[in-house]
C-alpha cells in the first residue's frame, strides 16, 4: 500500500512528455512555501474551504469520531481522532471539505497511470512520483517503480534528496530521471527554514551524478525572501556546475500553496505575488554560458 494524496493526469511540467504524476504523502522537510502542504504529513489531511462553509455544523454532527468541532465559529479538525471515514465530506452539501490521503494498492495506481500509456508513447512521457517526498515511503516506492518499469513506463521522481543514501541506492536502478530539488547552498539556512540536512542532500546529489549524470535535472525553486539573492543564485549555479550538473530548471516563486495552507488552518507567511519568469532570465543566461542546459519553469 502507498499513501497518496492525488493522481494528476496530463501533467506536463513534471518531466519530459505527457505524464501522470502521483503525489505521495509524507515529507522530511517542512518548507513554509510548500505548493502541496497537504502532502507533508503522512496522515490524511482534511482541507476545509472557509469560502464555501456556511457553518451549518453538519460535519460536526456527522463525525462518528467526534474529530470536528467549531470553536468561536472557527472550524477545527483533530487529525489524531479522525479515522478517514469521509462521513463529513459526504454530508457537506457545500463541498467545503476534502480529505487528502488515501492508501492505495500499487496495482490500482498503475492501472490509473496506464490509462494514458498511448500519450506517453507518443510524447516520450511516463509516470512521475512526487509529493511530499516520495522516498518517505521508500519500500513501497521501490515496489511500484519496479512494477512501472515492468510495464515499460519511463519513471521520474521529484525529490528533495533529504534521506539516507542507502534509500537512494535501493531505488535508483528503477528511476530514469531525478528532478532533484536544490533549495539552498547554506546548510544552516536550509535547516532553519525547512529542517533539511544540506550535507545529506549534497552527498546524495553527488552520488547520483556519479551514477549517471544524464539522469539528473536539478530544480532550483527561487523563493522570495529565502534564496532569491542574486549573488547566492550565481554561487549555487557555480557549485552545481562544479559538481557536474548538466541540466537546471529555474522555478520562479509562486503562491499556489497558500489556499491549501489556509484550508489546513496553517498560516502562510510568504508573499502572495508570484515571480515573473523574466526575473530568472539572467540566471538562465549564466547557466547557459557555463555550458549547462537551463530553462525557466518545469
Amino acid at each position: 500500500m502507498i499513501s497518496v494524496t492525488h493522481i494528476e493526469r496530463f501533467a506536463i511540467h513534471d518531466g519530459p512528455g505527457i505524464r501522470t504524476t502521483v503525489f505521495l504523502k509524507g515529507c522530511t522537510l517542512c518548507c513554509p512555501w510548500c505548493a502541496n502542504p497537504e502532502t507533508q504529513s503522512s496522515q490524511p489531511v482534511l482541507l476545509h474551504d472557509m469560502r464555501k462553509c456556511v457553518s451549518c455544523h453538519t460535519c460536526e454532527q456527522s463525525c462518528p469520531q467526534k474529530a470536528i468541532h467549531f470553536q468561536k465559529g472557527r472550524f477545527h479538525h483533530d487529525a489524531q481522532r479522525c479515522n478517514g471515514c469521509q462521513s463529513c465530506v459526504e454530508m457537506c452539501l457545500q463541498d467545503a471539505l476534502q480529505l487528502r490521503g488515501e492508501d492505495m494498492e500499487s496495482e490500482a495506481i498503475l492501472h490509473e497511470v496506464m490509462k494514458d500509456k498511448d500519450y506517453y508513447d507518443m510524447s516520450h512521457g511516463g509516470v512521475t512520483f512526487s509529493g511530499g517526498e516520495p522516498f518517505v515511503q521508500v519500500t513501497s516506492l521501490c515496489e511500484i517503480l519496479q512494477e512501472a518499469k515492468a510495464l515499460g513506463l519511463h519513471t521520474a521522481v521529484e525529490t528533495t534528496g533529504n534521506y539516507p543514501l542507502a534509500d537512494l541506492q535501493r531505488a535508483e536502478p528503477f528511476i530514469d530521471l531525478f528532478l532533484y530539488d536544490f533549495k539552498h547552498l547554506d546548510d544552516a539556512k536550509l535547516l532553519q527554514f525547512t529542517h533539511g540536512n544540506g550535507q545529506l542532500i549534497k552527498t546524495n546529489l553527488a552520488y547520483l551524478l556519479h551514477q549517471d549524470v544524464h539522469k539528473v535535472i536539478v530544480r532550483m525553486p527561487i523563493i522570495t525572501g529565502f534564496n532569491d539573492e542574486a549573488s547566492l543564485v550565481y554561487q549555487e549555479l557555480d557549485y552545481l556546475h562544479a559538481l557536474g550538473v548538466q541540466s537546471v530548471h529555474l522555478l520562479p516563486y509562486h503562491s499556489l500553496g497558500k489556499s491549501k495552507a489556509e484550508q489546513m488552518g496553517k498560516p502562510y507567511v510568504f508573499p502572495t505575488e508570484i515571480m515573473a519568469n523574466e526575473v530568472l532570465e539572467p540566471y538562465r543566461a549564466y547557466a547557459l554560458a557555463k555550458g549547462m542546459y537551463a530553462q525557466i519553469g518545469g
Binding site: F10, I18, D95, D116, D118, S123
Partner: protein
C-alpha cells in the same frame, strides 16, 4: 379535421444579426406580392414550372449593390416571403417566415398596406412548404416544430447542408450546363432547369449593371478591380472559367442562386485555377489573398450563424498540390479576419503536410476557433460503413452546419429530426408523463410506475421501447419531409449540380439525387447515460436508494433532497475515462445510433444517421427538460454535443479525450468534440498539446473543435461586453462572437472545463 397548427416562431438558431434589406419597405412589399401572385397564378402547373416562375420574381431583383471593397460580385437580400433551401436565410421551398412577416408589418404605418400583409400571411399559412409539412406531422404530445422545446421530438422540413458539385459547374460553364440539359431530352424538370440557367445569366447581367454603377465615382485603384470584375462576369456568362477570379465569381453567384450556405471542398475546386494563375504570373499570392479575403467577407455577410462551411485538405482530392496552395492562403485569411463564418475546416490525414498542420495550430492558437479539425484516417472508413458507400465516395465526405456529414455533390443529409434522449428518460421514469407539462408522451409503450422496475434491465429495456417508438416517429417524419418538399418544389438550382439529377431527368427529391440520406440530431446523450449509470450503481448494485426515492427527489427538483443530489453528482461521469460509466454511455450511443441507422435502411433511405452535433439546442431544450438523475437541476442546459456536462470532467484532457474516443465513428453521421485551452498553455506547451491531439486521433478520435481563451476573459466579457467585440468562442457546432450570445448560452460555455 385536424386543428390548424401555428408554426409562427423562431425556426433556426440566429446569433449573427442579418444585414438589413437594401430595398424600401414599399419595394419589399411589392416583391413579396409579386412572388405570391406568381405562386397563386401557377396553381395546377408542374412544380418545376411554378418554381421557375416564382424565382423570376425575386431574381435578379433581390440582388443588392456592391460594397466598396467587394472583389466578387453577388450580394443578395432576403424577404420574409420567397424561395430557399434552408431556414438560416429565408426559408424552405416556397416559404413564408411568419414571425418576420409580422415584424415587417410592424414597420408599416398605412392600414391598407397592413391589410396587404395580412392577405399574404393568410395565403402562406396554407402554402408555406414547412407549414404544409407541419400540419401533417406535428402533434400535441410527441412531436413539436423546430424550435419548440416542449416536446421530446422535433421535426422540420428543410434542405440543409447541400454542398454542390462545383467541379461540374467549372468544367461545363453555364452554356455547357444548358447544352447538357438540352441533350437529355424534354420534360418539365429539364425545361425549367434550362430556364434556371437562363435566369442565372440574367443574374450575371444584373451584376454587370451593378458593377457599372459602382464604377461611377470609383477611385483609380478601385476602377481596376471593377474592370476586372466586369470583364470576368461577361466571360463566365458564356464560358467556363479560366482564371482564379473567374472561378470564384462563378462559384459564388451560383451558390447564391441555389440558396446553399455550405460550400465544401473549395480547395480542390478553386486550387487548380489559383495555381495556374500563380504559375503563369497572372497573379501573385498577395492578390490571391485579397480575393480570398473578399470571399470570406461575402460569406460572413450572409450571417448564417451555424453554416458557411469551407473545407480544405484531406484525402481524395483530384488536385492535392494545387488545393494545398489554396489551403495555405485560406489559413492566413482565416487567421487575419477572425470572422465567425466561414466555418473553416481542415480535413487531415497522416499525409497532410506538416506546415499546414502547424499553420492550423497557429490559427487556432490565435483564438480564431478555426480551423475545426477532421481526421480522415478515422472518418473515411467510418463513412464507408455508416453510409454504406465505397471508399472513393466516402472520401468526399464533408461536414456541414454543426457537423453533419454529406457527400459533396452526391447526397442529401439534412437533419430534419431531433430527439431529446434525456426528456425521454424522464418520461420513462414518470409513467410516460413528461414532468414539465404533465402530458403523457410515451405513445403505445406500457410504462409502469418506476417502483415496478425490479432490475436495471427492466428500466433500461422500457426506456429502449420508448426510444424505439420515437425512432419510428423520426424516420417517418424524415421521409415525410422529403415527400412534402418534393411535392411542392424541385430545388432547380441545387438539382442541376447534384449527381445525377440532370442525367436521370429528375429533380433532387424526385429520384434525382444519387444518395438520399438524412440525419437525426440527438441531445442530452451524456446526461442520459450518466443518469442511467447513477441509477444502476446506487439503486440496483449498491442498494443505497430505491428508484422511487430517486424519483421523488427528482420530481422535487432535489429541493429537500440535496444529499441525494450530492450522491448522484459524486458518481462517475462520462468524460473521466471511467470504464463502466463510459461503457454504459457507449452502449446507449450504439443503441440509439444503430436504431436510427437500421430504420433508415429499412425504409429505403441511402442512410439515416444520428449526429451528436449540437448548436445551442442543448441549452434551449434543457430549459424545458426536468431535473435528471445525473444530478442536473430542472431547466439547466444539457451536455453539449458529445461532451461531458459542464463541470463533470475532472481528470484532465487525456481522460476526457479517452472517453470521447470510445464511441466508434462508424455508427454516426457526425459528432462534435469541443475542447478549451488557455492561450498560455496553447503557446508554451504547444508540442505537448499537438501530441495530445495526435494520440487522440490515433485512438479513433474523429474530430476536434478547439477554443483558445484566457481565464476570466469570458466572465469579464459578460460584465463588460463593449470591451470584447471580436471575442470568438466555439459554442459546439458553430462559432460565435461571445457577447452576441444570450446569457444562458454564455453560462453553458463558462461551465465547460478550461485547460491551463
Amino acid at each position: 379535421m385536424k386543428h390548424k397548427i401555428n408554426i409562427d416562431g423562431a425556426q433556426n438558431v440566429e446569433v449573427s444579426k442579418p444585414i438589413p434589406c437594401e430595398k424600401s419597405i414599399e419595394e419589399q412589399l411589392n416583391i413579396m406580392e409579386a412572388y405570391t401572385k406568381a405562386h397563386k397564378d401557377s396553381v395546377g402547373l408542374d412544380k418545376a414550372e411554378r418554381e421557375i416562375r416564382c424565382l423570376s420574381t425575386i431574381f435578379p431583383v433581390l440582388f443588392r449593390s456592391l460594397e466598396d471593397d467587394d472583389l466578387i460580385a453577388g450580394r443578395l437580400d432576403f424577404l420574409p416571403i420567397g424561395f430557399g433551401s434552408v431556414t438560416s436565410i429565408g426559408g424552405v421551398g416556397h416559404y413564408c417566415v411568419f414571425h418576420k412577416l409580422r415584424a415587417f408589418k410592424e414597420q408599416l404605418t398605412n392600414t391598407e398596406d397592413k391589410k396587404r400583409v395580412d392577405a399574404l400571411y393568410d395565403y402562406w399559412q396554407e402554402h408555406d412548404v414547412k407549414a404544409i409539412y407541419c400540419q401533417d406531422v406535428l402533434t400535441d404530445d410527441t412531436t413539436g416544430r423546430f424550435i419548440d422545446c416542449h416536446y421530446p421530438f422535433m421535426a422540420t422540413a428543410r434542405l440543409s447542408g447541400m454542398m454542390l458539385n462545383y467541379k461540374r459547374l467549372m468544367r461545363e460553364g453555364i452554356e455547357g450546363l444548358k447544352k447538357d440539359i438540352r441533350q437529355q431530352g424534354d420534360n418539365t424538370f429539364l425545361r425549367a432547369s434550362y430556364e434556371a440557367m437562363e435566369l442565372l445569366q440574367k443574374v450575371i447581367d444584373k451584376q454587370i449593371a451593378l458593377v457599372q454603377d459602382a464604377k461611377q465615382n470609383a477611385s483609380k485603384q478601385r476602377l481596376l478591380d471593377l474592370q476586372l470584375m466586369e470583364a470576368d462576369l461577361r466571360f463566365i456568362r458564356e464560358q467556363p472559367p479560366t482564371t482564379f477570379h473567374q472561378s470564384l465569381q462563378l462559384f459564388w453567384i451560383y451558390a447564391l442562386c441555389a440558396g446553399v450556405i455550405n460550400y465544401g471542398r473549395m480547395d480542390d475546386v478553386l486550387g487548380p485555377y489559383l495555381q495556374n494563375d500563380l504559375d503563369a504570373g497572372r497573379l501573385d499570392e498577395d492578390e490571391a489573398y485579397r480575393y480570398l479575403k473578399s470571399l470570406w467577407k461575402m460569406i460572413e455577410n450572409r450571417r448564417t450563424t451555424v453554416n458557411g462551411r469551407i473545407i480544405v485538405g484531406g484525402v481524395g482530392r483530384e488536385h492535392p498540390k494545387e488545393a494545398d496552395t489554396l489551403a495555405r492562403i485560406a489559413l492566413r485569411v482565416c487567421r487575419d479576419t477572425r470572422y465567425v463564418e466561414p466555418q473553416f475546416t481542415l480535413r487531415f490525414s497522416k499525409d497532410t503536410p506538416v506546415d499546414i498542420m502547424d499553420m492550423a495550430y497557429d490559427c487556432i492558437g490565435s483564438g480564431a476557433t478555426y480551423p475545426t479539425l477532421y481526421n480522415d484516417d478515422v472518418n473515411v472508413p467510418a463513412v464507408m460503413h455508416a453510409m454504406r458507400v465505397e471508399e472513393a465516395i466516402a472520401q468526399q465526405y464533408v461536414p456541414f452546419g454543426c457537423g453533419e456529414y454529406v457527400i459533396q455533390g452526391k447526397s442529401v443529409g439534412t437533419p430534419n429530426t431531433l430527439l431529446n434522449l434525456l426528456k425521454l428518460l424522464n418520461i420513462t421514469l414518470n409513467k410516460g408523463i413528461d414532468p414539465n407539462d404533465q402530458k403523457y408522451k410515451a405513445g403505445p409503450v406500457h410504462v409502469p410506475p418506476c417502483e415496478e422496475f425490479k432490475s436495471f434491465d427492466d428500466l433500461y429495456n422500457t426506456y429502449k421501447e420508448v426510444l424505439d417508438y420515437y425512432f419510428d416517429l423520426s424516420v417517418d417524419a424524415q421521409l415525410h419531409s422529403y415527400e412534402v418538399m418534393n411535392q411542392e418544389v424541385s430545388f432547380l438550382f441545387t438539382s442541376i449540380l447534384m449527381d445525377d439529377c440532370i442525367h436521370r431527368k429528375k429533380a433532387l427529391l424526385d429520384g434525382g439525387v444519387e444518395i438520399l440520406g438524412g440525419t437525426n440530431e440527438t441531445y442530452g446523450n451524456i446526461n442520459t447515460s450518466d443518469a442511467l449509470y447513477a441509477i444502476k450503481k446506487l439503486v440496483y448494485e449498491e442498494g443505497k436508494y430505491t428508484l422511487a426515492q430517486f424519483h421523488e427527489a427528482q420530481m422535487a427538483d432535489f429541493d429537500g433532497y440535496e444529499h441525494i443530489r450530492k450522491e448522484l453528482l459524486r458518481q462517475d461521469k462520462y468524460g473521466n475515462d471511467a470504464k463502466e460509466c463510459d461503457a454504459l454511455a457507449n452502449d446507449l450511443y450504439e443503441y440509439v445510433a444503430k436504431g436510427i441507422r437500421q430504420r433508415g435502411i429499412q425504409k429505403g433511405l441511402g442512410y439515416y444517421l444520428i449526429v451528436i452535433s449540437n448548436n445551442q439546442t442543448n441549452t434551449d431544450w434543457g430549459h424545458q427538460t426536468w431535473a435528471s438523475l445525473d444530478g442536473r437541476k430542472a431547466g439547466v442546459f444539457m451536455n453539449p454535443a458529445n461532451n461531458p456536462q459542464g463541470g463533470a470532467a475532472k481528470n484532465g484532457p487525456t481522460a476526457c479525450l479517452n472517453s470521447l474516443a470510445k464511441f466508434q465513428a462508424k455508427y454516426h453521421g457526425g459528432s462534435v468534440q469541443n475542447i478549451k485551452f488557455t492561450p498560455r498553455m496553447f503557446r508554451e506547451d504547444r508540442e505537448k498539446i499537438k501530441m495530445l491531439f495526435q494520440t487522440y486521433f490515433d485512438k479513433g478520435g474523429c474530430q476536434l473543435m478547439v477554443t483558445v481563451v484566457d481565464h476570466g476573459i469570458l466572465e469579464d466579457a459578460q460584465k463588460h461586453p463593449e470591451k470584447y467585440p471580436d471575442l470568438i468562442v466555439r459554442v459546439a457546432g458553430y462559432s460565435a462572437v461571445f457577447v452576441n450570445l444570450t446569457k444562458d448560452i454564455q453560462d453553458e460555455l463558462l461551465s465547460r472545463c478550461l485547460y491551463d
